[in-house]
């Protein structure tokens, strides 16, 4: 391997004189503690590298050893259920509660390999070699860059992740040895056979998302909001309850306690669909705000590579990135250190293309092995002072299909999730209407959605009017609209992630809830038309139930919920009777 000697060092950046050749983005190991770094520039005799760990103690003359390979992580069956730093080095199993520089890449795990291919067969890239029986079954595939005749396949048994379990001979006669895990250069997207259009939603269990602003499997969503508006809680809620097969959660420049929370909760919570602990389907990548900035930049690529690895097994993967703004800031810091010309708000000119490249890695695909898989990206954005006109939010908006804008005012009234229904959108909604019709069990989904959105739009308009003339001066129909809009907000859009009853809402319950609310609207409109005062409707006992619909009718109360329209009819009927009697 090539070597270089440090000639200059300052902070996480070093220059070194090369003997032998290096390439840009090559991983290097630096100094006696073998700190991990990456080459970022080559100029004549000299290389510039950034180091992903604390450089304290390094000095000129220290060695920089090349690895011959771009910055890579090892992808294999040992990832699920683990917590790793931004370079996929395990954070568990250390004896010190503080992170010391020179964290190892972790010992290989041992897994039971069950062969599923026959020696002699010709295998394409992505073909199945076998499976491992871990907490959940995972496939071992022919990795990218490898294909050919399967000369030898290990017998069923326990192997280390790096042990050779298959030998293939390629067309050019080259022999490839394959282990259960393989290195992957994080900045390179993993190959697929074809990209597919959106066809099914990723069900999140959050009413405002699934019903109003759905994200498709393989879709891309941004979650912008000022501090404390609920990005992390929502990302965690999605990580818990969405119907993906695998969750990759990357805490990029955020809080250590939030990672601890995920670690604490996920093993205790059950996946509502499989009954297994949520931890088993989750990979956590934690590069908290106090960990080295350069590694923060890499962590996003590490996370998406891990997500693609599971996608290639024919799984639906959701990637939660909290927060992409911290990643962009890391980009800015590294760029500044390289003396690059700063653009808007100091970000490098390539910010936009980096964001595009990242979101482009989300997709529903046909894998090389011919299966359907997907990676859905949900990226939190933390705009300075909550101002959505700053560069990261603006550029992100160009590349995502769903925009879930968090609103400070809602958050301050503790109305969660604080997604603003008028500032948010989903470009996937129309494509998903078919799914709701044929597979989702709610053919009316698209019309219901439209009704709710237009009601909320009218609410904003009417509230502006009410501010001028007073609410009481509005015509009865319009007063009723405001009442209905309040009910939709309180009874449907509000959903606390901390409520055991309401933190997850199945598509069936969502449909039942929206139906009863719309039925109320219909009956109420008819009543007002026939002369009933909106104030009388507001006093109906059922209104109080609709207000607290999410809280009072959990997943186990669907039967009770289906009775509610009868109660509603009864109350409206008696309203007319009373009205008639009075007359």
């Amino acid at each position: 391997m090539s070597e270089a000697r440090i000639t200059w060092i300052g902070g996480p950046v070093l220059r070194a004189r090369m003997t032998g050749s290096f390439s840009v983005y090559e991983a290097v190991s630096v100094g006696p503690r073998r700190l991990l770094g990456e080459v970022i520039q080559l100029k004549g005799e000299e290389l510039v590298a950034q180091v992903y760990e604390d450089t304290t103690g390094l000095e000129p003359g220290d060695a920089v050893a090349g690895s011959g390979r771009a910055l890579s992580v090892k992808l294999g069956p040992g990832l699920l259920g683990g917590i790793f730093d931004g370079l996929l080095r395990p954070l568990t199993g250390t004896d010190d509660f503080q992170i010391q520089a020179g964290l190892g890449s972790g010992a290989a795990g041992r897994f039971r390999f069950v062969p599923q291919a026959n020696a002699g067969a010709t295998l394409e890239t992505g073909a199945i070699l076998g499976a491992v029986a871990a907490a959940r079954e995972q496939l071992i595939l022919v990795p990218p860059g490898v294909a050919g005749r399967l000369e030898w396949l290990a017998a069923e048994g326990e192997y280390g992740e790096d042990e050779v379990i298959a030998r293939l001979v390629g067309e050019n006669g080259k022999t490839h040895e394959v282990a259960m895990r393989h290195p992957w250069p994080v900045r390179t997207p993993r190959p697929v056979r074809a990209r597919l259009p959106a066809s099914a939603p990723m069900i999140t269990g959050q009413r405002i998302l699934d019903t109003l602003f759905p994200v498709a499997r393989g879709g891309r969503a941004a979650l912008p909001g000022g501090f404390g508006t609920g990005k992390t809680v929502l990302q965690e809620a999605l990580a818990k309850w969405c119907d993906a097969d695998v969750i990759v959660y990357v805490g990029c420049g955020e809080r250590g306690n939030e990672m601890a929370e995920v670690l604490d909760e996920f093993p205790q919570l059950e996946d509502p669909r499989t009954g297994r602990p949520l931890a088993e389907r989750t990979v956590i990548i934690a590069n908290t705000s106090n960990m080295p900035v350069a590694a923060r930049e890499a962590s996003i690529y590490t996370a998406i590579s891990v997500a693609e690895y599971f996608r290639d097994q024919g799984l639906h993967v959701a990637l939660m990135a909290d927060s992409t703004s911290r990643w962009a800031e890391a980009l800015r810091e590294v760029s500044g250190r390289l003396g690059e010309l700063p653009g808007e708000a100091g970000y490098p000119a390539y910010l936009s293309s980096r964001l595009a490249e990242f979101y482009e890695r989300a997709a529903r695909v046909t894998t090389l092995g011919g299966k359907e898989g997907s990676v859905t990206i949900i990226g939190a954005v933390s705009p300075p002072a909550g101002d959505f006109s700053e560069p990261v939010t603006l550029h992100t908006k160009r590349y995502v299909r769903c925009f879930w804008a968090l609103d400070r005012q809602r958050a301050q009234a503790r109305f969660y999730p604080a997604i603003h229904p008028l500032l948010s959108y989903s470009a996937d909604a129309d494509a998903l209407a078919e799914w709701w019709k044929h597979s989702g069990g709610n053919p009316d989904w698209i019309t219901q959605r439209q009704r709710v959105l237009s009601l909320l739009e009218q609410q904003a308009h009417l509230e502006r009017m009410a501010r001028i003339v007073g609410r009481d001066a509005l015509p009865a129909q319009q007063q009723l609209k405001l009442l209905c809009a309040d009910l939709v907000n309180d009874g449907f859009l509000r959903q606390s992630s901390f409520s055991k009853v309401d933190r997850y809402c199945s598509p069936g319950r969502q449909a039942a809830m929206i139906s009863v609310l719309l039925a109320f609207m219909d009956r109420a409109e008819a009543a007002v038309q026939s002369g009933v005062a909106p104030a009388r409707i507001a006093e109906l006992p059922v209104v109080r139930q609709l207000q607290r619909l999410g809280e009072e009718y959990g997943e186990g109360d669907l039967r009770k919920l289906s009775q509610l329209p009868h109660q509603l009819d009864y109350e409206f009927d008696s309203l007319h009777t009373v009205a008639a009697n009075v007359r």
Binding site: G253, N257, A260, R326, P384, Q412, A413, A538, R548
Partner: protein, 462 residues
């Protein structure tokens, strides 16, 4: 290992806080340096960059009075360390960890890096232990838990010091024996009397023996202000994670700290970010704030109560903004409430405690605590909207229900936010239910029928 060496005549250039010197001996990046001037004064510094011939020393105290010929440089074989031990308690230090109370040097049991090391997130335990501060708007609405970092966002002239002192005095009362407790106070650019008041308050509550003070006074150069919280947090980490105490760290005023950061960044010729603050201010602040927490298997905790004054009373200013993005909530003080004579003048709506949800409710405080808190927030938010409305079109134009909310708003501020004496959590909850009374029950969407019956109807009938 590198040697402990004294270099003479090695300095070739001095530029603001930076000293350029010949690399006449082996030394590693970030090593501690003592720069001794002709005047005999010693200044702390560290190696900021190295090449084959030379080194750049960042002097962390004033370089005034240094010259090329007479400046000697002592290279230490290690980064900046602070000698810590149990006798820290009851002591007063200057901004760089030297005793200024006339007492003997601290006999160090360990020497720890002032920069600290990042806590491995997989070693963190979730903060869950409720601290009763006696302040209703905190205990009931924005609960503080051990291991949390919860700043006070204040402004010039508001009683943040009084509030912080009150919290520091009370926080030791709940749970645990008193010797398990410690308070670390780091004053950055604060006037002497602020520090003195705090010291006296601790003394009068008998906690001085459990208190450590680090003082960077207003007239000291900005540079070493950056070191003060690092020394203080190193002491706190020792007391919490080695000695197993529950440590509360008061950091005041973080705005002065950030100003110093801006000044130093400018003197390094760095490209300024928003409002002139360096682009790395987020990471720099995070390196301080993230030192709070609880560690699995260790009895101690480190809670932070940073105080900052919002420049121009603007919560969107980079200092409060970046702080809010790092800390686990914020308590916002408000000039208008203060003018109305309400103490503590806590502006409830923009205040938040993010760790509250894991420390309150069934099994922690009271089963109805979360619902009551949410109902108060929702009702007060509505009251504030109505208040704005009323200021435009007058109270007469308001529907009945709105007028009730308007009255609630006033009641909430005068009876609930405002408090003459400390309250227990139970008293705070009672006050919360009391102010809610009078609102139409069908507008209380955050409370269940059972909660309304139990807390709002029965006592009224009684």
């Amino acid at each position: 290992m590198f040697a402990d060496l004294l270099l003479e005549g090695a300095v070739t250039r001095i530029e603001g806080p930076l000293l350029f010197a010949k690399r006449a001996a082996r030394v590693g990046l970030n090593s501690a340096v003592e720069v001794v001037g002709n005047d005999g004064g010693t200044r702390l510094g560290r190696i900021a960059a190295l090449d084959e011939q030379s080194m750049v020393i960042e002097v962390l105290q004033s370089t005034t009075g240094l010259d090329l010929a007479g400046t000697r440089v002592r290279l230490r074989p290690e980064p900046l360390l602070f000698g810590v031990g149990p006798n820290l308690l009851g002591r007063i230090f200057d901004s760089v960890g030297r005793p200024i109370d006339g007492g003997p040097p601290v006999s160090a049991r360990a020497r720890m890096r002032i920069e600290g090391l990042a806590i491995n997130p997989s070693w963190r335990a979730l903060p869950r232990d409720f601290i009763e501060t006696g302040v209703s708007t905190i205990d009931l609405l924005n609960s503080l838990v051990r291991g949390q970092k919860l700043p006070l966002f204040s402004a010039g002239g508001l009683p943040h010091d009084r509030l912080a002192t009150q919290i520091a005095q009370r926080a030791r009362l709940r749970g645990g024996k008193s010797e398990e407790f410690a308070v670390v106070f780091a004053g950055m650019g604060v006037p002497h009397d602020t520090a003195e008041q705090f010291r006296r308050a601790m003394e009068s509550s008998g906690a001085l023996g459990h208190t450590v003070l680090f003082l960077n006074l207003a007239d000291e150069p900005g540079m070493q202000r950056l070191l003060t919280p690092r020394y203080a947090l190193t002491a706190a980490e020792y007391l919490a994670f080695v000695e197993g105490r529950h440590v509360l760290v008061v950091l005041t005023d973080m705005t002065n700290y950030c100003e110093a950061l801006r000044e130093v960044s400018a003197s390094h010729g760095e490209i300024p970010g928003r409002k002139g603050y360096p682009g790395y201010m987020y990471s720099d602040l995070a390196a301080l704030y993230e030192r709070a927490g609880c560690i699995r298997g260790r009895p101690g905790t480190l809670t932070q109560l940073p105080i900052l004054t919002m420049p121009g009373d603007d919560i969107g200013h980079p200092i409060p903004d970046l702080t809010g993005y790092i800390t686990e909530g914020q308590i916002v003080l408000d000039r208008e409430l203060d003018r109305k004579g309400i103490y503590p003048p806590i502006k409830v709506l923009p205040s938040l405690s993010r760790l509250m949800d894991s420390g309150i409710g069934e099994g922690y405080t009271d089963a109805d605590h979360p619902a009551l808190a949410h109902q108060l927030f929702a009702a007060y938010a509505r009251a504030m909207r109505v208040r704005t409305l009323a200021s435009v079109m007058g109270e007469q134009g308001l529907p009945d229900a709105d007028r009730k909310f308007l009255e609630f708003g006033a009641r909430f501020e005068e009876q609930f936010v405002n408090q003459a004496a400390s309250r227990t959590l139970e008293e705070s909850m009672q006050s919360g239910w009391d102010v809610l009374r009078g609102l139409p029950h069908n507008e209380l969407a955050r409370l269940s029928d059972a909660q309304i019956r139990k807390h709002l109807e029965e006592p009224a009938h009684a």
